[in-house]
């Protein structure tokens, strides 16, 4: 009975294959091969490149559990990811709402451009710009002291807030974009229907708009949380001494200590933890949506 449908999907797959092949080939070469090499490295005592003797070991993974430092840093990074994601929601969602539902035409395009602008600037330049703004005697400090009648010292450089500011700035456009897309798809007549039934604007927001835009919030949160947990550039440059996180430790293993196997092992532990978090969160969020 199911034969016609089956042949249809099989012939559909056959015609889709030439279109899918380039993408899959590229993904295989660019991601799967290097990643497999890293999995391989993570089980070695040393890199096989320098001619030194090496053997298979589970020691790199054991290191994570034997030293509490790694777990502490991982938890700090998860907290960082959570905080940055929350700030992105707080800042990005209202902006997306205004873009999707309040502004029209030209002004919408202009504001939209301003929101995506950080995307088009180099990440490193962005971070060093923040360094100029946040340090003592920097732009923020000077500007505030020029305006305020009393003397204050603003030196956010090399602090946790500086890391948060830098990361939120880098990642908030993701939240604005994903939320904008779902908010824009909500028909204005749904909002009007809610109000005609006696709901205040806040009730309409809570019962209609937020539930309907939840997929955008979730997508934005996933796009932000995952890279932030592994981030190292912003913590290192803006955080200085306080900017030691799980990501910076992994980076150290690759560029400073040259212990690639440990770096690889720490990376895969992070990947596993993130996947577990997403897997646990997915059904809850899906039910809520």
């Amino acid at each position: 009975m199911a034969v016609p449908g089956a042949t249809a999907s099989r012939s559909g797959l056959r015609s889709a294959l030439p279109l899918l092949a380039p993408a899959y080939l590229w993904l295989t070469v660019a991601i799967f091969l290097p990643l497999s090499a890293m999995v391989f490295f993570s089980f070695m005592t040393d890199l096989p490149l320098s001619g030194k003797p090496w053997a298979f070991t589970l020691g790199n993974y054991a290191a994570f559990f034997s030293q509490s430092l790694y777990l502490t840093l991982l938890l700090a990074s998860l907290r960082l990811g959570l905080e940055v994601t929350l700030w992105c929601v707080v800042i990005g969602y209202p902006a997306a709402y205004v873009l999707a539902k309040v502004l029209k035409g030209r002004s919408r395009e202009a504001i939209f451009l301003l929101v995506i602008l950080p995307f088009w600037s180099n990440g490193l330049v962005r971070i060093f710009s923040w360094a100029m703004v946040l340090r003592e005697g920097g732009i923020l400090d000077t500007a505030l002291n020029a305006v305020l009648p009393f003397k204050i010292n603003i030196d956010l450089m090399y602090s946790y807030p500086a890391v948060i500011i830098g990361l939120v700035h880098s990642y908030v456009p993701y939240m604005v974009l994903t939320c904008y897309l779902t908010l824009q798809a909500i028909d204005d007549s749904l909002i009007e229907a809610g109000r005609s039934l006696g709901a205040s604007r806040l009730q309409v927001l809570k019962r209609v708009i937020i539930p309907l835009s939840l997929p955008g919030l979730v997508a934005g949160a996933a796009l932000i949380f995952v890279p932030v947990v592994g981030s190292f550039m912003e913590p290192r440059i803006l955080g200085g001494r306080t900017g030691t996180f799980y990501g910076t430790v992994i980076e150290d293993q690759f560029v400073a200590v040259f212990n690639w196997p440990l770096g690889a092992a720490l990376s895969f532990i992070l990947l596993a933890v993130v996947l577990v978090i997403l897997a646990v969160a997915a059904p809850v969020l899906r039910r809520a949506a």
Binding site: S189, A193, R195, S196, L197, G198, Q203, R207, P211
Partner: protein, 355 residues
């Protein structure tokens, strides 16, 4: 329940006057149609009554209470939208419950009221479905149940049947009318479908370019249109233009047309006469059969459209195409190209002052 009074309401969007000094009195419990072409201001007027938008000037009152600056959520109205606007994230029952639940009613009351409303629209068993699992007609009913479950003072409908196919639309017209009678709610209904307006409403208001052209019961507007626009927008009409003679008009070619309905106009003024196509009798002979059919014109059939229960003849006469609708009585049909005589009575002729 309450009546609605709209007094001298104007609303402009930039240079465009969407509503220009509109006054209508919607009596308590009546079923009103606001009829007009697109851009006539009918939806703008409905949105003013709903409270989505406020008038630049003028007054709106519901049940005697002045509401022109009261926001929609405080007006206690029910509204059905053209696209139904059901909340896709909620079940049918939750959609209907929305208005009661934002008001903070207790759960047992909500459940019984929701069931009652769903039963009223004959969807009692579909409460757990999602809107996307329903047909167009069912969604329409849910939207209606959701709008009336809160016991609003006025029910506002914005082209609610526009998205349905013809057969379903006729069913829903009957259904809507039944429900409206059952709960006796003042209902204001926006439509561009003249047939819908004629069959459903107690009174019709015709709008054009933001102005109220004419308002009254369907029979009155149909039988005694006060303008060429009202005559041609609500139903079909043959329009003759000429000079008023005191008891009718004289066409440019000298033919006199007698009219006994409508305005009394002094001789000499520009005027029109409107005649409904079904009021004209068509024949091949020129014998004056009875005095009642005092108006007579000769012409030639240019086209015939057969529609089963009736036929429409297009008759050419002095550069004008006249429409005549003849019931299918089985009598001989006229062929295209045939010379014919048209007759109708002055009682079927409406005299209209030139606008």
């Amino acid at each position: 329940m309450a009546g609605v009074q709209v007094s001298n309401v104007s609303r402009s969007f930039g240079a465009h006057k969407a509503l220009d000094d509109v006054s209508i009195d919607f009596a308590d419990g009546g079923f009103y149609a606001l009829l007009g072409p697109s851009g006539s201001g009918k939806t703008t007027l409905l949105r003013q009554i709903a409270g989505f938008d406020f008038p630049d000037s003028g007054r709106i009152s519901i049940g005697g209470e002045s509401v022109e600056r009261v926001p929609v959520e405080k007006r206690r109205i029910g509204m059905v939208f053209q696209n139904y606007a059901l909340f896709p994230n909620m079940s049918v029952a939750d959609n209907v419950a929305f208005g009661l639940s934002v008001r903070g009613e207790n759960k047992a009351v909500i459940a019984s009221e929701v069931q009652r409303a769903l039963d009223l629209v004959q969807l009692g068993k579909l409460g757990r479905r999602r809107p996307h699992q329903l047909s167009g007609g069912q969604r329409q009913r849910v939207a209606l149940a959701r709008a009336i479950v809160t016991k609003p003072r006025v029910l506002l409908l914005d082209e609610p049947l526009g998205a349905l196919d013809k057969a379903l639309r006729v069913d829903m017209q009957i259904e809507l009318k039944r429900i409206q009678r059952e709960i006796g709610i003042t209902t204001i209904f926006v439509t561009h479908d003249q047939e819908e307006a004629l069959t459903m409403s107690d009174r019709i208001g015709i709008l054009r370019d933001g102005r109220l052209v004419q308002e009254g019961p369907p029979e009155e507007i149909y039988d005694r249109p006060k303008s060429e626009f009202a005559a041609t927008f609500l139903g079909n009409a043959n329009i003759f233009r000429g000079d008023a003679t005191g008891n009718g008009i004289r066409l440019p070619d000298g033919t006199a047309i007698a009219a006994k309905v409508g305005d009394r106009l002094a001789g000499g003024a520009k005027a029109s006469c409107a005649v409904r196509p079904e009021r004209i009798r068509i024949a091949t002979d020129a014998v004056v059969s009875d005095a009642a059919d005092a108006n007579m014109l000769k012409g030639k059939v240019s086209k015939r459209i057969f529609a089963g229960n009736n036929s429409t003849y297009f008759v050419e006469r002095a550069g004008q195409t006249l429409k005549v609708i003849v019931q299918n009585t089985g009598a001989d049909r006229l062929a295209e190209g045939q010379d014919v005589v048209l007759r109708w009575s002055p009682e079927s002729t409406v005299l209209i002052a030139a606008g």
